[in-house]
Assembly symmetry: C2
Homo-oligomer: 159 residues x 2
């Protein structure tokens, strides 16, 4: 071992040596860390199909509500209408979602899954199940429900 | 009210009318929703200072560990070293963080907050407190601790 690598080992603190300051007391910090772990596992699970958590949510909602408008979808997901346009553009370009003229509103589109999109939605089921299993394999059923309840209260808060 | 706006109202489902399919059963979905609410509130709270949650974490850790290397910081935060370089670039460009030659490793930098960065870190305290208060004002102290514990177990999982 040469001097340089010895020096590097000494100067490179391990995570255990690091003082995280105020962070461990912050709910937001823990929420973000858990989200990053979840996101990374999701991306890994979906490596073959290249679907993000946001795209999966959109596909699942269109699957359950065929013909829904972009505006209604944007409200349901809680993102800006303009952001949703880009999300749908990407899914349409991949042939997964189709925009049809809305029967009730000529200024909007009715969204449906294409056959390819419906097939993908079906194929995603087992991948999502395995991903969820990995996320929550530490938890009892009660703990998982507790966590979902607490997270829902943040999401549904009036902030 | 003309025909068009009547039609639009009818075709635009409210969130309550929407079938979320499998999503409400998924821990990942609730985690993501809570994270989005947290992130949006954080961004709003930091509108005047333009600091993201990730940047705040980095500033807090450098503040508590002056002289730490970029590599050690990247490991502590759990992101790629190359991503951390961009994060530090942005903070250095704003005069908040300084890169100094590492006394132990000529291939790395020792990171410290500038005076401006240290002042900002201090000013962020009350903003973070208010943000945390808004996130958790629904919760008892016990519920908040429970939530932090459950989230930590996801973040520290071996996935």
């Amino acid at each position: 071992m040469n001097d340089k690598s010895t020096a590097r080992q000494h100067s490179d603190k391990n995570a255990a040596d690091i003082d995280f300051g105020v962070l461990p007391d912050l709910l937001g910090y823990h929420l973000r860390r858990a989200q990053i772990v979840m996101f990374n596992d999701f991306v890994k699970a979906m490596a073959d199909v290249q679907i993000t958590p946001g795209q999966f949510g959109v596909i699942a909602i269109i699957n359950s509500n065929p013909g829904l408008t972009q505006s209604a979808l944007a409200r349901a997901v809680g993102i800006e209408r303009s952001t949703m346009v880009a999300v749908i553009d990407a899914l349409e370009n991949r042939g997964l979602v189709e925009r049809r003229p809305s029967p009730n509103d000529r200024r909007s589109y009715a969204l449906v899954l294409s056959d390819k999109g419906a097939k993908l939605h079906q194929d995603l089921g087992p991948l999502i199940d395995q991903h969820e299993q990995r996320l929550s394999d530490d938890f009892s059923e009660e703990e998982k429900n507790q966590l979902i309840d607490l997270l829902s209260r943040i999401a549904n808060g009036s902030r």
